[in-house]
């Protein structure tokens, strides 16, 4: 498939998800937490397009509500990662010296652990709740942003337009805010787009393990976990959230890839190393 076609698919999926997250919950006639024990584990029908779960709740309604939650969590976590990582990267790259050395060793340490395992440990220590999962995911994820921004800053600060600004007597703050950040931010945005999919997976994974959103919150990972018990009799309970998670991650990754390709080849090479 040509790459612009893939871009359209990716953008389409992400756009659809945003629409679902915004308007979805109002479209459904059901309440996501309303139990209807007489109609539990019903197969997909006209009344319940994706069937009902073990407590008779409408699966589609819960997915629609979950979209808002999952995307919101992913956006918040990614935003924290981006901001923290960018600040650390700017500081390390521009200050240099021991500041750079110390920050980069911290980054190396964080990158040495498999992210999801570290997040599992942190969320486990903090106790099961969606907020703690968000915290854990934010803590483990900012390091690659810091790396990326630092390497951009290191090459940018040697560029002559930065020298030109400094020779005019402009302050460091001016140079960082006006020249470095705008020039370093493009690859960061790409990384963030690619990262959202990972965060959604991470949230769903930790929730699946019982560390994240607690029932009856309609979170995709939590739905997956509770559906697992009824895998034999009600396939739709795991398939519906599973397919949705997959589609979401797929959509964000496609979009991220296209964004990366749209940038210069050097920047995509830089990102490829991460």
């Amino acid at each position: 498939m040509p790459s612009n076609r893939l871009t359209q698919v990716g953008a389409g999926i992400v756009l659809a998800l945003l629409v679902i997250a915004t308007f979805g919950p109002t479209l459904s006639p059901y309440d996501p937490a309303e139990q209807d024990l007489q109609h539990r584990l019903e197969a997909p029908s006209a009344e319940h397009p994706l069937g009902t779960d073990q407590l008779g709740r409408d699966v589609l309604t819960r997915l629609l509500h979950g979209a808002r939650l999952s995307l919101g969590v992913a956006a918040a976590v990614t935003a924290v990662r981006l901001v923290v990582g960018t600040l650390v990267g700017l500081l390390a790259g521009y200050a240099g010296g021991w500041v750079d050395e110390a920050l980069m060793r911290l980054v190396d340490t964080l990158l040495a652990f498999p992210g999801i395992i570290l997040a599992l440990v942190i969320a486990g220590i903090l106790g099961p709740s969606l907020v703690n999962v968000m915290l854990a995911l934010a803590v483990v994820g900012w390091a690659s942003y810091a790396r990326l921004v630092r390497s951009s800053v290191l090459s940018l600060r040697e560029r002559e337009f930065v020298t030109a600004a400094r020779l005019l007597g402009r302050s460091r703050t001016h140079v960082v805010a006006r020249h470095l950040v705008p020039n370093a931010i493009a690859p960061v945005v790409v990384l963030a787009t690619l990262d959202i999919g990972g965060v959604i997976l991470g949230t769903a994974g930790l929730s699946f393990l019982g560390l994240g959103a607690q029932p009856p919150t309609p979170e995709w990972g939590t739905m997956l976990a509770s559906g697992r018990n009824h895998l034999r009799e009600a396939w739709w309970l795991v398939n519906a959230p599973g397919v949705l998670i997959m589609l979401t991650v797929f959509g964000f990754n496609l979009l991220g890839d296209s964004l990366r390709d749209a940038l210069s080849p050097t920047q995509s090479a830089q990102l490829g190393e991460l």
């Binding site: 560029r159 002559e160 337009f161 020298t163 030109a164 600004a165 400094r166 020779l167 005019l168 007597g169 402009r170 006006r178 020249h179 705008p182 020039n183």
Partner: protein, 392 residues
């Protein structure tokens, strides 16, 4: 010229009445060396412990208002390092950089006002513009806080662009949309924007076609007369420098080997290196012999020749040149750092006469001086004849 007067008046307020005579920028015996990587073997053997690339060695230079100082030399002779010492991108290891008579450090230690006294036109113009900024924004960044009245800058970015013969509409464009010549003009406009007294121009016209070069040089000349701005004009192209410069400094291996009024240095070089540079200029006449390249390679800055750094490539050189480093000697055109100024001068005037036989007689002196050395090999003896200097 009203703007020029205003500026002069402003200057008096800060500098006193001697503003026009006192140099704005002065380099006093500045030296700059760069540490070099030693190989592991050399470290183990403790060899080359003092290895450092000596880019600039004991250079003194002044640039005043309204004065164009040309700096010429081969690639790698330390021209750009010298420029960076002036702008404060580098700090000298020894010696001092003075701004209005006050020693200054690198740009981080200079005040905003001090920084704005010196304008810079970078060697790689395109690189010196943020590709995400419009031309307007780039120039505005450069505009000083207090633009004086009657200034070309009262009209802001547009009038600056107009002063370098560009359509003010260019202000809304990005650097990527401009040609090299246009961008170079923008660079000059930007350097003028903060009302500097001296502009450092590092190879400002290299890589441009002849017509564009000529336009830019004319512009620079106009600005000098109009605003009284001084230039430190760095180029490898003698022709370009000759057009603009009042004074010329010829640099070789990190030191200035000859200095003097541009026209006379160019016409009557008194240092063998300058002489060779002048000879290397291609002639306008295609029937003339092609220009003669200087034999040998520029010296390695990590391992400079003893004595006069030019002696390995010099046709006048003898043992004295190998052993002792000449100081500046007054010459007809200025001052020259050569033991045999007279010999070079007479050789020059010799070649300028049309009869080579006569010239040979006149210039027999350096051959005599060089006897000891040139006896060693026959070819060198031949090369030692100044008339044949570039005939290889």
């Amino acid at each position: 010229m009203s703007s020029g007067e205003t500026r002069d008046a402003n200057r008096e307020r800060t500098d006193g009445s001697a503003a026009d005579t006192a140099p704005v920028v002065e380099l006093r015996d500045v030296e700059k060396a760069f540490a070099t990587e030693r190989s592991i073997l050399n470290r183990v053997l403790r060899r080359d412990e003092n290895a450092a690339a000596r880019a600039v060695c004991g250079v003194s230079l002044t640039v005043g208002r309204g004065e164009a100082v040309g700096l010429v030399g081969e690639s790698g002779c330390g021209k750009s390092t010298l420029a960076k010492l002036v702008t404060g991108q580098l700090e000298p290891d020894n010696g001092a950089v003075l701004l209005d008579g006050t020693p200054v450090g690198d740009y981080t230690e200079r005040s905003g006002t001090q920084c704005r006294r010196i304008g810079v036109v970078f060697q790689n113009t395109r690189e010196s513009f943020d590709s995400r900024w419009t031309i307007r924004r780039s120039i505005e960044e450069s505009l000083g806080p207090a633009a004086s009245e009657n200034d070309v800058r009262t009209g802001g970015v547009e009038s600056l662009l107009r002063s370098v013969n560009l359509d003010p509409k260019v202000a809304g464009r990005y650097p990527g949309a401009l040609s090299g010549g246009q961008l170079q003009r923008v660079a000059i406009a930007r350097a003028l924007a903060h009302d500097p007294d001296v502009i450092v121009l590092d190879e400002p016209v290299s890589g441009l076609d002849m017509a564009t070069q000529a336009t830019l040089l004319n512009l620079l000349d106009d600005f000098r007369r109009e605003f009284g701005v001084g230039y430190l004009f760095i180029s490898h192209d003698l022709d370009v420098v000759r057009y603009l410069a009042d004074r010329l400094a010829v640099m070789y291996a990190g030191e200035i080997v000859e200095r003097g009024p541009a026209q006379s240095v160019f016409e009557r070089p008194s240092h063998p290196y300058t002489e060779a540079l002048v000879r290397a200029i291609p002639s306008d006449n295609p029937m003339d012999a092609p220009p003669e390249p200087l034999p040998g390679d520029p010296p390695n800055p990590e391992n400079r020749p003893s004595g006069c750094p030019f002696h390995p490539r010099c046709s006048y050189a003898d043992t004295r040149c190998e052993e002792s480093h000449p100081a500046f000697t007054d010459s007809r055109s200025g001052a020259s750092r050569c033991h045999y100024v007279e010999a070079v001068e007479s050789a020059e005037s010799g070649t300028e006469t049309s009869e080579p036989v006569e010239a040979r007689d006149e210039t027999s002196k350096p051959v005599e001086i060089g006897d000891e050395r040139f006896e060693s090999t026959e070819t060198e003896t031949e090369e030692a004849n100044p008339v044949d200097y570039g005939a290889r």
